[in-house]
C-alpha cells in the first residue's frame, strides 16, 4: 500500500467530478491511498499569477503548508493547472529564501518546503510504474486509436514542471500503449487550448481548441485523452461552437486518461463517471468489452 497526499482542486469538485471519481477508482485499484489536504483552498490559477506574483505563490503555498502540517511528503494534483501552480510555489520558494520568507509572511504559517508536488502522470509512470498499471489491465483498449493531449501546464515551463519533455512528452503515450490502445502521432500534443480565455475571448479559444479537435479527427483518433479539466471543458463542450465557426461537423469524444485506465481495468463505467461528457463517449465504450 502506497500513500500520497491529494489536492483535488476546485474543478474536480464541480465540472470534473468524473476526473475525481476515475482518479480515485484507478488509484484504489493500484493500491494507492489518497489523503486529501485538510481544508485546501483554490490554487489561484491563471488569474492570481496575472494579477500578483506573490499572491500566485501564497495561495498554493497555504495548501503546501497544510499538507506539511498533516505530515505529507508528496502531494498529487490531477488538475494540470493546480499541479503547475503548486509546483511553482514549491520551486520558487526552494530557490529563493527571500521569496519563501515573503510567502510565509503572507500566509501566516510555517512552510518549510518539505512537500513535493506531483501530477497524475508522474504518479502513475514514475512512482507506481507502467508495469504495475499494465498488470491490472483486464479489458485491453484493443482497436482504440487515442490522441494523447498534454496541453501546456503539465510540461511547461520546464524549469517549474521538471517533468517529461516540454513539447514532445511521452508519459501518457506509454500509459495508453500499456492499456492496449493505439497511440496516434499528431502535432497538437502540447498546443494551448486557450484555457480560461473561453470566458473573455471565446472566438480565440474556439479556434485554438478547434485546431486540436479537427487534427485528432484528421489522424483518425477515436478519442482524445487529457489530464486537465480546463482542456476537457474547452475540447468537449465547445465542439458545437467549432462546427458553427468552421461549417465542419465534429464529434470527437474527449476523455480523462484516468477514465481510459479505469475502463481497461474493468471498473464499471457508471463508477468512473464516463457519461459525464457533452460529446458522447459511447463510440469508445462500445469498442471495449
Amino acid at each position: 500500500m502506497m500513500k500520497t497526499g491529494y489536492f483535488p482542486g476546485c474543478s474536480l469538485h464541480s465540472t470534473a467530478k468524473n476526473y475525481e471519481s476515475s482518479t480515485r477508482e484507478v488509484l484504489k485499484a493500484l493500491d494507492v491511498q489518497l489523503e486529501e489536504i485538510p481544508d485546501w483552498n483554490c490554487c489561484g490559477s491563471t488569474p492570481a499569477h496575472q494579477v500578483d506574483h506573490l499572491l500566485a505563490l501564497a495561495l498554493p503555498a497555504r495548501n503546501l503548508a497544510q499538507a506539511e502540517k498533516a505530515g505529507m511528503k508528496e502531494v498529487m494534483a490531477p488538475c494540470a493547472a493546480c499541479f503547475n501552480h503548486l509546483r511553482t510555489a514549491e520551486i520558487e520558494c526552494a530557490e529563493n529564501q527571500f521569496t519563501a520568507k515573503k510567502v510565509q509572511q503572507a500566509i501566516e504559517m510555517n512552510y518549510n518546503n518539505t512537500v513535493h508536488v506531483l501530477n497524475i502522470l508522474e504518479l502513475l509512470v514514475d512512482r507506481i510504474g507502467i508495469d504495475k498499471v499494465a498488470a491490472k489491465v483486464k479489458k485491453p483498449l484493443k482497436g482504440l486509436k487515442i490522441a494523447p493531449y498534454y496541453g501546456c501546464m503539465l510540461t511547461r515551463p520546464a524549469k517549474i514542471t521538471q517533468f517529461d519533455h516540454p513539447t514532445n512528452p511521452v508519459s501518457m503515450d506509454k500509459l495508453l500503449t500499456a492499456l492496449g490502445a493505439e497511440v496516434v502521432a499528431w502535432d497538437s500534443k502540447t498546443d494551448c487550448c486557450g484555457a480560461a480565455y473561453v470566458l473573455t475571448r471565446p472566438e480565440v479559444v474556439i479556434e485554438l481548441s478547434g485546431r486540436i479537435v479537427y487534427q485528432a479527427k484528421e489522424v483518425g483518433a477515436d478519442a482524445i485523452a487529457t489530464a486537465c479539466p480546463m482542456c476537457m471543458s474547452n475540447l468537449d463542450l465547445r465542439q458545437g461552437a467549432m462546427a458553427k465557426a468552421t461549417g465542419k461537423k465534429t464529434q470527437v469524444p474527449v476523455m480523462y486518461i484516468t477514465e481510459l485506465i479505469g475502463m481497461a481495468f474493468g471498473i464499471p463505467n457508471s463508477v468512473l463517471g464516463i457519461r459525464k461528457h457533452v460529446i458522447s463517449t459511447a463510440p469508445v465504450t462500445a469498442k471495449i468489452s
Binding site: C10, S11, H13, S14, T15, K17, D39, W40, N41, C42, G44, S45, T46, P47, A48, H49, Q50, V51, D52, H53, L54, L55, A58, L59, R62, K102, Q105, A106, I107, E108, C152, M153, R156, P157, A158, K159, P166, T167, T190, D191, C192, G194, A195, A196, Y197, L199, T200, R201, P202, V204, L208, L237, R238, G240, A241, G273, R275, K276, H277, V278
Partner: protein, 193 residues
C-alpha cells in the same frame, strides 16, 4: 546589436533584473511569436515587445494588450534559441504596469481575473457557476455569452457534468485565513490592490 541606454535605471535594465531574463540577447528570430497562441490578438507580437523594451518604449509596452494576454503556456520559452522564458518578462511587465498606474487597453481579462479572485477570497475556492454568471454580466456581451451557453448548458445538466449542488458556493473552514492572504499581499505591496 547592443544598445547603450543612458539614465540611472533604464527600462531595459529594470525588466532584465525583475524578470531574470537577458532581454538584450534576443536574436529577434520571432519563434516566440510564431508559437504564441495569442499573438494574433495581441497589439504587439511577443518578439516586438522584446525589441520595444530594448529601445526603451516603456509608454507603449506597459499599457499594451500583449502583456495582459500572456497566459504562461510556455510555448515561446520551449522554442527560444536564446533559452529564455518570455513569460517571466511578461510577469515583470505586468507588475511594473500595475505599480506605475498604467491602464491597459485590454479590459476583458483583468475583469475576469478580478471576479475569479473575488470568488476565491469570498469562499476559499473558485465557484465555477458564480464565476461564469458574474463574468457574463460584466463582460458586456450578454447576448453572445447566453447564446453560447444555450447549446451546452442542458447537456451539462443532463449528463451530470453539473448538478444542483454546484449552484451555490461552499465556504472552506479557513476562508478567513485565505481572505487574510489577500489582505497581507496587498499590505506588503504598500496598499496596492
Amino acid at each position: 546589436m547592443k544598445v547603450v541606454l543612458h539614465g540611472e535605471h533604464s527600462f531595459l535594465e529594470e525588466v532584465e533584473v525583475r524578470s531574470g531574463q537577458k532581454v538584450q540577447e534576443c536574436h529577434q528570430c520571432s519563434k516566440c511569436s510564431g508559437g504564441c497562441p495569442f499573438s494574433g490578438v495581441m497589439d504587439y507580437s511577443p518578439n516586438s515587445i522584446l525589441e520595444m523594451i530594448v529601445y526603451g518604449m516603456k509608454d507603449q509596452v506597459l499599457p499594451s494588450k500583449s502583456i495582459q494576454m500572456c497566459i504562461q503556456c510556455g510555448t515561446c520559452g520551449a522554442q527560444c534559441p536564446a533559452g529564455f522564458e518570455l513569460y517571466e518578462v511578461m510577469n515583470a511587465l505586468r507588475a511594473m504596469a500595475k505599480e506605475e498606474g498604467y491602464t491597459s487597453s485590454e479590459t476583458k481579462i483583468p475583469k475576469m481575473n478580478k471576479i475569479f479572485l473575488g470568488e476565491v477570497r469570498n469562499s476559499g475556492r473558485m465557484h465555477e457557476v458564480g464565476l461564469i454568471v458574474k463574468n457574463m454580466l460584466s463582460q458586456g456581451e450578454l447576448a453572445r455569452d447566453v447564446a453560447a451557453l444555450i447549446p451546452i448548458g442542458p447537456p451539462m445538466f443532463l449528463n451530470g457534468i453539473m448538478g444542483f449542488g454546484d449552484i451555490l458556493p461552499r465556504k472552506i473552514h479557513g476562508q478567513a485565513a485565505v481572505a487574510k492572504i489577500f489582505d497581507n499581499v496587498q499590505k506588503m505591496r504598500g496598499g496596492q490592490g
